[in-house]
């Protein structure tokens, strides 16, 4: 009997680590990545290997070691293969973008390591061209090896803000400003927690040093209140911690308010493979944890299919340490975003469908407690192509803020919960061979 196939989705550290660990145990593994190359968010590889962004040496070495092992392993790597979900009979759907077709697999187990997506708190004008996510701008920069041109404003909250700013500065175009919403400062207890995972402290110190040299240390307590187009550029209104308003004219605004697991529509059904999530797709803990979590996921799969697992407490210990470090780190940031009650009615909440806060507000006027499903269907919030990934949380929290009766809807009622996980071209779908003739 041939050995059972395991499918791993996502070519970031979690997915690659899971695939390698399974291959080491002699399992037949296929690794699928939607993009053209492996690496994920943290180890994104440059388009032109001679032009790359400086990343910490340890990151580089880690990825090199993994790539080498992968190349020598039995893992089958399929790039430009998008996981589209698990359909009713349990088949895993993969959109093969190289050949423009849909293929199905029935693996014994499925490891989902699709990483995180960024949270961006809505502000008026966040849907304009030139407004990007901080991670999105970093992706562009890591790919091209060049800093984005023009005047760039970075705003929101989280460690990614200074990372991007410093990388831009090193490449010769520092941002005009970094606005960090949080006013919380490093405390002794945070430093103590981070000392157990000192890489973060070193990384942060390096970034801050670079920024200090460029004279653009983050302005704490400041945030963006509105973005508007002006003369082909973006006019940004900001508020600082003393309540002072300021206008800036820039070419780009990069926003970021933390990360969320990218696990939409991946609920296990009645049929279908054993599913394990790994890395940021399960719990947002960063790259080091993703490596360990990939191994843990592989062990869970091995246990499930009855293969012996080499006993080791190492990955679990790493995960615990990283969880503590991330928790400490997160106390420094403020991911709450702007109180929607303070946003003007014309602020777009659902960008795919162009639905505004005012439209949401009017759906909630009156005593009748309309449900999340009614808001979704009739208000069209979360009904567009991104399937609510970027608005569900804000819709839910706004509804909750308007309701005194303690019945806030869950974001999960607005986010898409079914396959396809992402839109699938009809041209690809029709290539699926019929399993039985149509009547």
């Amino acid at each position: 009997m041939s050995s059972p196939e395991v499918l791993v989705i996502g070519g970031g550290p979690a997915g690659v680590s899971a695939a390698l660990e399974l291959a080491r145990a002699g399992i037949d593994v296929t690794l699928c990545e939607q993009g053209p190359r492996l690496g994920g968010a943290i180890h994104r590889q440059p388009d032109d290997p001679t032009q790359s962004v400086r990343v910490p040496r340890s990151h580089k070495q880690r990825w090199q070691a993994m790539s080498d092992e992968l190349a020598a392993s039995t893992v089958k790597v399929l790039c430009r293969h998008m996981f589209a979900g698990i359909e009713a009979t349990g088949a895993v759907l993969l959109e093969d973008r190289i050949h423009g077709r849909l293929v199905t697999r029935r693996p014994a187990a499925l490891v989902l390591a699709m990483g995180a997506i960024e949270r961006v708190a809505p502000v008026p004008g966040w849907h304009l061209p030139g407004v990007v996510t901080v991670g999105g701008l970093q992706v562009m920069m890591k790919s091209t090896g060049r800093a984005p041109d023009g005047d760039v404003l970075i705003a929101g909250s989280g460690p990614l803000l200074v990372a991007l700013a410093a990388q831009m500065a090193s490449l010769g175009n520092a941002p005009v400003a970094v606005l960090e919403r949080s006013t919380r400062l490093m405390s002794v207890s945070v430093i103590a927690s981070l000392l157990r995972a000192p890489a973060y402290l070193w990384e942060a110190a390096g970034y801050l040093l670079t920024l200090a040299r460029s004279g653009i240390l983050p302005r704490r307590g400041a945030f963006v209140t509105a973005i508007a187009p002006r003369d082909g550029r973006l006019s940004v209104t900001t508020l600082d911690r003393h309540g002072r308003e300021r206008q800036m004219l820039v070419d780009r605004v990069a926003l970021h308010d933390g990360l969320l697991p990218n696990s939409n529509g991946t609920m296990a059904g009645q049929h279908g493979p054993f599913i394990v999530r790994a890395g940021d797709c399960r719990e947002v803990l960063g790259g080091t944890a993703a490596l360990a979590d990939g191994r843990l996921a592989a062990h869970a799969v091995l246990a499930q299919i009855g293969k012996a697992v080499r006993a080791t407490k190492v990955p679990a210990a790493i995960l615990a340490r990283e969880r503590q470090a991330q928790a400490a780190l997160n106390t420094l940031f403020d991911y709450s975003g702007r109180d929607p009650a303070q946003l003007p009615d014309e602020t777009i909440i659902c960008r795919c469908e162009g639905r505004t806060l005012g439209q949401l507000r009017s759906m909630l006027s009156g005593d009748d407690p309309v449900s999340a499903r009614e808001i979704k269907l009739n208000g069209r919030f979360g009904m567009g192509a991104c399937q609510g990934r970027f608005c569900a949380e804000w819709v839910a929290s706004f509804v909750a803020s308007q309701r005194a009766d303690g019945s806030p809807p869950q974001a999960s009622e607005i986010v898409g919960s079914r396959w396809p996980v992402k839109p699938v071209p009809i041209a690809a779908f029709v290539t699926l061979p019929p399993s039985h003739p149509s009547e």
Binding site: T89, L377, A385, R418, I426, F429, P434
Partner: protein, 382 residues
């Protein structure tokens, strides 16, 4: 008045009953439109109806929608348009011509399109289409939006997440509705519970779930060919509704409708499967529907599917809806079993229920739907 079920039938009935002076409460086990009404296409259409009472009622139901628009109740929620039934071979053409004749006999305006006229009117049709019947003067309404409009117009109370488990009665009359949140008094009850109706009836196997899977695409681009209205494959006429639900084997059939929505998206459907796993959709059905859709209209291949969902139709043993009085209690009425026609018929049925309950003679002849044909009685457990 207690109306059980906040689908299109229950909400329409609640609307008309409250305007007739009743104090109405609508109870739903889920939320508004959480049953078939929230997971349907919205063909307000005669095109696919079998000749007979259902076709006659559908003709009246289309006029009723027009009336609701004229009186301001459903302004913007009903989109008048033609349906195009397309034949792709000579066998289908024969079926099409016969069906067109029957529609005309029922007073439905029809235009047969062939050759250049066909291509001029339906730019999106495949070159393999040999003829189409344009069924004129019908339209589209989204079930959950109709219900939302009725909710906004108000005049009655809605109790969400409040399942009705049975009734309290005395002297052959219902006096109260038993819910998860306690018993509440009622002078009369209308069951508009769709697939949930069997819980209340003594008969078994009268109403069966018939699953339908539907596909939603992203928006068409400005360069996409023109869809003047929904395209229906002539094959749909063979599979559509009005099939009795008592066939022993779990069967599945596919009929194709490509429905251009006002958003620029398309709804592509649908399957008819005798099963009740409403939360799932399978790739085989979806791929088959999409293959047929692309064969009928090749330009669809440029689009993407963004969502797939399914709903459960309430199919009766004889393929006809059930509207009328339920034995075992004097003040209990029922309106259910609308299979694939409830969005079309729902508002009018709501009105007819109101007339029936108020002791007026209904505007339309609904004797063919009468619950008495099954001798319905209230289940002992209810």
């Amino acid at each position: 008045m207690a109306v059980v079920g906040a689908g299109i039938v229950g909400m329409s009935a609640a609307h008309f009953l409250s305007r007739a002076g009743w104090q109405v409460t609508v109870y739903d086990a889920g939320v508004v439109a959480s049953g078939a009404t929230g997971s349907a296409d919205g063909a307000v259409s005669v095109a696919s109806k079998k000749p007979g009472p259902l076709m006659t009622l559908a003709v009246a139901a289309v006029k009723f929608y027009e009336q609701l628009v004229a009186t301001g109740i459903l302004v913007d929620e009903y989109l008048p348009r033609s349906t195009f039934v397309v034949a792709s071979d000579h066998e289908e053409l024969a079926v099409l011509e016969r069906h067109a004749g029957e529609l005309e006999a029922a007073g439905v305006p029809i235009r047969m399109l062939k050759g250049a006229a066909l291509m001029a009117v339906i730019g999106a049709a495949a070159p393999t289409a040999i003829a189409a019947a344009e069924v004129q003067r019908e339209g589209h309404a989204v079930g959950y939006r109709v219900v939302e409009r009725l909710r906004q117009l108000g005049g009655f109370a809605i109790r969400r997440n409040c399942r009705v488990s049975g009734f309290e009665s005395s002297n052959g009359c219902i006096t109260g509705v038993m819910t998860e949140q306690g018993t509440e008094p009622a002078d009369a009850v209308l069951l508009a519970t769709g697939i949930g109706s069997m819980h209340f009836l003594a008969e078994s196997g009268l109403i069966r779930p018939r699953k339908g899977q539907l596909i939603v695409t992203d928006r068409a681009g400005a360069d996409s060919p023109h869809f003047p209205g929904p395209l229906m494959s002539c094959r749909y006429l063979v599979s559509k509704g009005s099939q009795p639900a008592d066939s022993a084997v779990a069967s599945r059939s596919l009929g194709l409708v490509i429905d251009p929505l006002r958003t620029g998206q398309f709804l592509i459907g649908g399957s008819r499967e005798d099963r009740d796993d409403r939360e799932t959709a399978d790739a085989d059905v979806v791929a088959t529907l999409l293959r047929d859709a692309v064969a009928l209209s090749p330009s669809l291949a440029q689009l993407r599917i963004i969502r797939v969902f399914s709903g459960l139709r309430a199919a009766t043993r004889d393929g006809m809806p059930i509207v009328g009085h339920v034995g075992g209690a004097e003040n209990l009425w029922i309106a259910t079993g609308f299979e694939g026609d409830g969005i079309c018929l729902g508002p009018m049925i709501g009105r007819l229920c109101q007339q029936m309950i108020c002791g007026e003679s209904p505007e339309q002849d609904i004797s063919a739907l009468d619950a008495a044909r099954f001798g319905l009685t209230l289940a002992a457990a209810a």
